[in-house]
């Protein structure tokens, strides 16, 4: 290390006393050693990926862009999109209920969140897939009409639509319901945290300026809430996207379900899992980039208020 000290001795500014300041770079040799050590398992993994025949790269390549798999991918995107929008809408309603003056509404909102947050998501999803057990048919009409009819001694035809609930609650409806309703509960929690951090005094200051309550919400409550809402909401969106894989157990043939099906049929499930991993890695990466772009834009809008 003598070469180092020679090099550093000649650099630096000159003190008033005339002596040059010795600047010595702070070095972390051990962190480099650790880094190199950690490269070893990574290399082993690469070797494994390249040489182990179980990965079946040929099968992966053959299937990963096949029409069936792409259909599954679209279904994943569709379910995630609907659950995102629907979950957000329901969460908005639940948040308003929770903040309302009506104790019954507050209780209902709380109970909803308690129920869907206490149950594991996969259980909820499978539960919705099996709801067909409860009723053979689903009718749309007036609630408790059988009771009303009996009381009045009439035979009203109050059932306007009916569905076969077994078909309704398998597939896309169950998938969307399971994801949307759970996501609504998760979003509600995020919103609660976000609005808990806002200051009632700032809202009143906005009202005092002469803003209407709606304006005060937009201008004084939302901006500080967005500081919590934006990052936490982003995390929730990524989580929702990843959790779409759960609806394979509804069963609903989205990306993961499709690939698993192919794997079972062809007798090579592992390569299909690898294909699923590749697709999720790729799509989530795009999603993350998109979210970060949106966040940067939103931050600019928030900070540059002039």
């Amino acid at each position: 290390m003598s070469a180092d000290s020679d090099a550093t001795a000649t650099t630096g500014t000159v003190r008033p006393s005339g002596q040059p300041i010795k600047t010595v770079a702070h070095r972390h040799p051990w962190s480099w050693v650790l880094g190199i050590l950690l490269l070893l398992p990574l290399g082993m993994l690469a070797h494994l990926l390249a040489t182990n025949p179980a990965f079946g790269w040929a099968t992966v390549r053959a299937q990963v862009f096949s029409a069936t798999v792409l259909d599954g991918l679209w279904r994943t995107l569709f379910v995630a999109g609907v659950a995102l929008v629907g979950g957000f809408a329901v969460a908005l309603g639940l948040t308003l209920m929770r903040r309302s003056g009506n104790p019954l509404l507050r209780l209902l909102s709380w109970a909803y969140c308690w129920f869907f947050r206490a149950l594991p998501r996969i259980v909820v999803v499978i539960l919705f897939g099996s709801l067909g057990v409860l009723y053979g048919r689903l009718d749309l009409g007036i609630p408790f009409d059988f009771w009303i009819e009996r009381r009045l001694g009439l035979d009203l035809d109050t059932r306007y639509f009916s569905f076969d609930s077994a078909t309704l609650f398998s597939g896309v409806v169950a998938a969307i319901l399971g994801l949307t309703l759970t996501q609504a509960a998760y979003f509600t929690e995020v919103m609660r945290d976000a609005f808990a951090g806002t200051d009632e005094a700032e809202r009143e200051a906005a009202l005092a300026l002469g803003m209407t309550p709606g304006q005060a919400r937009r201008r004084a409550v939302l901006p500080p809430a967005m500081r919590v809402l934006a990052p936490a909401g982003g995390r929730e969106i990524v989580r929702l996207y990843a959790d779409t894989a759960l609806v394979a157990f509804v069963p609903y043939p989205e990306l993961f379900g499709t690939l698993r099906g192919i794997g079972d049929q062809t007798g090579s499930p592992f390569p299909m899992l690898v294909a699923a991993c590749l697709w999720y890695l790729a799509t989530v990466s795009i999603l993350l980039i998109g979210l970060s772009v949106v966040r940067q834009w939103a931050t600019r809008r928030l900070e540059a208020h002039r």
Partner: protein
């Protein structure tokens, strides 16, 4: 809640002196808008002059500032005076059977500084919040620049105004809370232009020019691009004053500025702002600050108005024992 003038409160005997103000007396001193009331509870009409021995010898300089009760309906003889920008009439606020504000009357003229003086819990903040309708009074009314705040009268009943109408009324009222509650995500300048651009229909360019001038006037021009979190407490009060004044209010309500600003600086700022026209109501616990800032002082204790009148008289020669006790307690406490 009838709006009739209680008989016997018409200060006809005082009109002659007040009608002929000495020419060089400042406008703020020519009037005595806050009613005098005894500390005792009985609502019987008071005889003017009884509580203010200082005014009894007819001093030529003091005749026009004699304390006199103001009736609920301003008699014709007073029409030459400016109309009050704020008038609180028998204002009462009850929280769960606790009277926070008890039957308080108050009038503030344009350009006048009125100091609400009283210990913590006297009802100063509640009175200010009622005066911008952030708090609905349990009883009594507030008029801002002649219009009934928050309600419209239908027959003998009061109907609450819609949120939109209340918002429109609040545009003429400035409010500086304690703590000042600036918008944390916005810069100082953005805080100040928020009202004119979002509520008024000022263009951003004009609003920025006006706001910059206002910040200059309040001595915080250098802080325009800072965020509230980075400011000193005293500067936050200045920014909040600028934000309120940017709306060019008729009434400016300021809660405890002397708790965060040095009292002389706070007094100077408010006196300067009053020259622009708004009637100012400022709450404080500091009698010395009140003496510096106020034309009119109103001493509150436990929700009721103990004494009000010309600031110098009330603060230096209180007419009531209770006022003197409140002032002594306030002077004693460390600040």
């Amino acid at each position: 809640m009838s709006d009739q003038t209680p008989t016997g409160e018409n200060p006809a005997d005082q009109t002659s002196t007040s009608q002929t103000p000495t020419s060089q007396t400042p406008a703020s001193e020519t009037t005595q808008p806050v009613p005098q009331r005894p500390a005792t509870q009985q609502p019987e009409p008071q005889r003017p002059g009884t509580h203010q021995p200082a005014t009894q010898p007819p001093d030529p300089h003091e005749t026009s500032v004699t304390t006199r009760p103001i009736s609920r309906v301003v008699p014709q003889e007073f029409r030459h005076e400016p109309d009050p920008v704020l008038r609180a009439d028998r204002l009462t606020k009850t929280y769960r059977r606790r009277r926070v504000l008890d039957d308080v009357d108050l009038q503030v003229l344009p350009g006048q500084v009125c100091c609400l003086l009283g210990p913590a819990g006297a009802g100063k903040t509640t009175l200010l919040r009622c005066a911008i309708h952030l708090e609905q009074p349990s009883r009594g009314r507030v008029w801002i620049d002649g219009s009934l705040l928050g309600y419209r009268q239908v027959g003998s009943k009061l109907r609450p105004l819609s949120a939109r109408h209340v918002a429109a009324q609040r545009r003429t009222i400035g409010f500086v809370a304690d703590p000042p509650a600036l918008f944390g995500t916005k810069t100082v300048l953005a805080n100040v232009i928020e009202g004119p651009t979002q509520v008024g229909n000022t263009t951003k360019r004009t609003a920025i020019a006006d706001a910059t001038a206002l910040l200059e006037r309040l001595g915080i021009a250098a802080l325009a691009d800072a965020y509230p979190a980075d400011l000193a407490d005293a500067d936050r009060v200045r920014v909040a004053l600028a934000r309120a004044m940017a709306m060019e209010p008729k009434v400016l309500l300021v809660d405890e500025p002397a708790a965060r600003l040095p009292a002389p600086a706070a007094a100077e700022l408010l006196r300067d702002l009053a020259t622009t026209g708004p009637g100012i109501v400022v709450a404080s616990r500091d009698p010395d600050f009140a003496l510096r800032v106020a034309d009119v002082a109103a001493v509150l204790d436990a929700g009721s108005l103990v004494e009000s009148g010309k600031a110098r008289d009330v603060l230096t020669e209180p007419a009531h024992k209770r006022t003197a006790a409140v002032l002594a307690a306030l002077r004693e406490q460390p600040r």
